[in-house]
Assembly symmetry: C2
Homo-oligomer: 303 residues x 2
């Protein structure tokens, strides 16, 4: 008799995000049947010409097109001033065909532009990245559902992955490592209001290993390659890895590979579920952006 394998099941972000995108496409098609002019409009504002931003924006535009969205790339010169950029956002806020606006960060600009000012300039009703302070405030105080507020895409994607496990979140101890505006902080909020007991850890946390060892749910969003060791994972825990760290790898054609914030090979021996990197949280972000934009488009429809 052999002991049963206790290796973690993989949370396949490609598959889960693909299901979400199919559902979004189905809803778009259905809505268009009801009203021929229905078309979710997404504007992606990019300043300058960063290569990584070009790739990310390209993925979002392509996915939007596939799902039947009007996905526009608003590519602006690196020479643009803050004032002009704010005007551009303001005109998108007023455009009735645009339901979602995102400002691709970081900005690649010659003059000094306050990026928070720009993300806050996006109307809360079109803020599909969930970065406007009003949406952040609602989420942090637990009124995001009552107020139809947008939640940042990566944490929303992580919640979808947790749902996929079928395990309850309520009453569980969740440990979030990282407190960024875009992942860690909103993730801690989402888990808190899903009734988990949440511990937020960060660079100043002492005895991180002891804290992670207590977690039923670990969300790694600290941007440090394999900081979270496999030996820290409580047997049976769910591990969600938001890290995307690039390391050189001569065995790869690209000369590099992606590594998460969790020591995957060891962690998967003890966790019940784990997200791989790549192919875990990564693909979820674009899918949730589409979900947020569709939600916005539906809300703007005359009832």
């Amino acid at each position: 008799m052999h002991a049963e394998s206790t290796e973690a099941r993989l949370l396949d972000g490609k598959q889960i995000s693909s299901n979400i995108k199919s559902k979004v496409k189905g809803e778009v098609d259905f809505a268009r049947n009801e009203c021929a002019s229905f078309k979710p409009g997404l504007a992606i504002v990019q300043v300058g010409d960063r290569q990584d931003s070009n790739v990310y924006v390209g993925m979002k535009i392509k996915t939007g097109g596939e799902l039947g969205f009007d996905a526009r790339h608003v590519k602006l010169s690196a020479e643009i001033t803050e004032e002009k950029l704010l005007e551009e956002i303001s005109s998108l806020n007023k455009d009735p065909n645009i339901h979602g606006i995102i400002v691709q960060l970081p900005l690649d600009c010659k003059s000094k532009i306050d990026s928070s000012k720009c993300t806050n300039a996006v109307s809360p009703e079109k803020d599909v990245d969930g970065l406007n302070e009003i949406n952040a405030g609602r989420l942090s105080r637990g009124v995001h559902l009552d107020t139809n507020s947008f939640v940042p895409c990566t944490p929303r994607g992580c919640m979808e992955m947790l749902k996929e496990t079928g395990l309850p979140v309520q009453g569980k101890h969740a440990v979030v490592v990282g407190r960024s505006k875009i992942v860690g902080s909103p993730m801690a909020n989402l888990l808190t209001w899903a009734n988990a007991t949440v511990t937020i850890c960060h660079s100043r946390t002492q005895n991180l290993d002891q804290i992670v060892k207590q977690a039923d749910i670990v969300v790694a969003a600290c941007g440090q390659m394999e900081l979270i060791k496999g030996s820290w994972i409580k047997p049976g825990a769910v591990v969600i890895d938001c890290g995307i760290n690039v390391v050189p790898d001569v065995t790869k054609k690209s000369g590099r590979r992606l590594v998460g914030d969790v020591e995957f090979a060891e962690a998967k021996k003890v966790a019940s579920w784990i997200t791989p990197v790549p192919g875990g949280v990564g693909p979820m972000t674009v899918a949730m952006l589409m979900r947020n934009t569709l939600d916005s488009a539906k809300r703007s429809q005359p009832t």
Copy 2:
């Protein structure tokens, strides 16, 4: 030889708040020396005639007067409509002599009024209660200091009390019991951005005792009389009790007494510092309201 007493030192809210108020008064006097017309203006909007609200508002108006503020009680009929109340707030937003506006909750009104709509109608620049979603968002994402945002008075008072202990917050494990908009949630934010590792507990938390036992700093804000037992307190921990529970007591002239959310008598045997109830966090709230209003008045001065 006797063992040294290890009983907790008391964080005397009356004394600490009195020091803060003296400092505020000194700053008001100094500013008036520089500019004779300087006078922090605080408007407290009360709807209806709840007895408890009358008492709280009275205390705030009285303290404001003592510190040289223009503290106005805007008492409105219980018959007021939401529209009229919003107009009232809007006119206070525009009044250059008013630097702080608070809407006393709960509203005592005949018609249905959305209280969040009212607290959000207060301009973020005059929101000395820190309840506007924009201020909540900034605090939750850690930009409250960079943006001169207001922080709710009770949590700000708790941070002042922690300062009083002289103990570091950074890297410590803080456990906040309660996730209300006005105390628990903003307190967790403040501690996180003061670089503590923060666990937020609430009614759905399992094994609350085990979690509290790990805390270097315990903040009780759950509104349940003596829920936090003395035996849960880690030796040497700092205990901040925001609870104000009224219990009948025939031995008191008033027929009642106030009890906190922590089992004080037992907790003080193991804690290093503890706030009593009454006389702990309670008096801090009004003092911090004055501090917030003074900060606002100073910011509005021509430079």
